[in-house]
Subunit: 324 residues, 2 copies
Amino acid sequence: MGNRRALARAISLVEDDQPEGPQILSDLYAHTGRAHVIGVTGSPGAGKSTLVNALARSYRAAGLTVGVIAVDPSSPFSGGALLGDRIRMRDLTGDPGVFIRSMASRGSLGGLARATFDVVQLMDAAGFDRILVETVGAGQAEVEIAEAAHTTIVVEAPGMGDEVQTFKAGLLEIADILVVNKADRSDVDRTVLALQAMQSLGSAAAAHHHLTVDERPGPGRQPDGSWLPPIVKTVAAEGRGIETVRGWAEEHARYLRETNGYARHEGQRAAASIRHILYERLPAMLLARLPEGYWERMIRDVVNRDVAPHAAVDALLRAGNWLG
Amino acid sequence: MGNRRALARAISLVEDDQPEGPQILSDLYAHTGRAHVIGVTGSPGAGKSTLVNALARSYRAAGLTVGVIAVDPSSPFSGGALLGDRIRMRDLTGDPGVFIRSMASRGSLGGLARATFDVVQLMDAAGFDRILVETVGAGQAEVEIAEAAHTTIVVEAPGMGDEVQTFKAGLLEIADILVVNKADRSDVDRTVLALQAMQSLGSAAAAHHHLTVDERPGPGRQPDGSWLPPIVKTVAAEGRGIETVRGWAEEHARYLRETNGYARHEGQRAAASIRHILYERLPAMLLARLPEGYWERMIRDVVNRDVAPHAAVDALLRAGNWLG
């Protein structure tokens, strides 16, 4: 429990951009790289939080510890912006093998992704076996966070309409596991068929389009070494299908380790971590190098249409002596 | 129509990061600043696209030209990722006073916001009177885009559940006009009451909490110079309530011009434009200054846990000679 309080304090320091944050992260970094990071994404109403809750309990039953990071402000884990950091997922609280953290929405563009990456590292260093990151399936920073997970679960729900189907098209590409939640609804098979149809437009299935349906290999690892996302039906609120999802998540982790997928993912995560820190630090560094009042004058010139934004950036770079 | 083709070409150059983009934007910048930019945001299923469509027709009927930018990939204006740039809003196409553009989702963090700002400028320079920017009401880049509009309309729909209500809490703060769409549903009044209750927690209403309900001023401009967002019920699919929304949008533009709100907004937009260009250019500039293979070596060191990401950034800044 002492450790737990230390973790909570470290997360707060990192989230609040306190000067100690980078040093803590650097000190702990050698202890990271053990956790399997699982992104759970999908639009509001699909039941992401319920699935995350059920998955966390399933991992606990299997003797594994779980960190949960809720990036989605609509998540019950977050409790919404009005309720702040309060946690409504009662059945997980009080269990020392579970650590739940919701990310307050961040002011600066890129700040959310950077802070989420940092908190993943802190939970990883603290020894949690699995880290579940819940993000709303819309928004550029949020999709980038989901992509940085080792395994990405995209959650659908039946009957969310044609509009939502197309909306998800962009998410299909990043899914390692597709979950159709609320599978007790009558139109679940229509949703599964729609997902299969979209999948068959993708490259993995297209590789053996000359095969009849029966000849096609099942989902998961394919003979050619690629990964075909399984489609799993769940009723997360009743715990149905959760063991299957967990089984596929473990299978996907094995697949990544046995191919070079894990190393590739780790490289992507490292590059993304560095990029997000650069996004935050470089503009701040430039501003610090400008002459007094220069930034304000440039904004005024842009507002007055005397200088265009791109030209203003050139001027700022010159003024900060950052060109050439 | 020649102008129209030139605009489409300019947008493509800017979106695709072609080298001509910044020059075109700079050349045209002096002609911007005339359009009233209206952000329309809200979660999938609230009917944003239908509202945008109806608003655009309403503006056309009033003799004004309209640019539409759909940032939400689920928008029928976008047609979803599978259908690319195809436009399904038939009743607007073919009208030379309307220009519709959907933004393809962008690879780099911050790229979406930067490109959207650029396209707003191009449409503004092309002389469109009103520019409607539709964004999904989730995601950091997307909220930042909505905030950059002069007037932000947040769309709700009844019966989207408690989860969605809290989700919207963050959006309430950026709303200048609140629209409860699909107001023919039975639970519309519950939604309106919930919004009013949330509003009364805010500062504008709190200022006169000692007044009884009847004594309170109506929405819009308040005696103290602040703005209390009106709550408008619409059935966008049937055009009901649309004239009221348009009326409030015009009223809000007047309010901004008569207070210092417009200048403040323009300053925020200018600062955001510059920031987004910096976000894209600074990391690229740093990479270009690094010794051959340095970036790849640093990624490998981070993956191997020999160097922490924050320390890697310090090393990159030193190697690019950007410290001190």
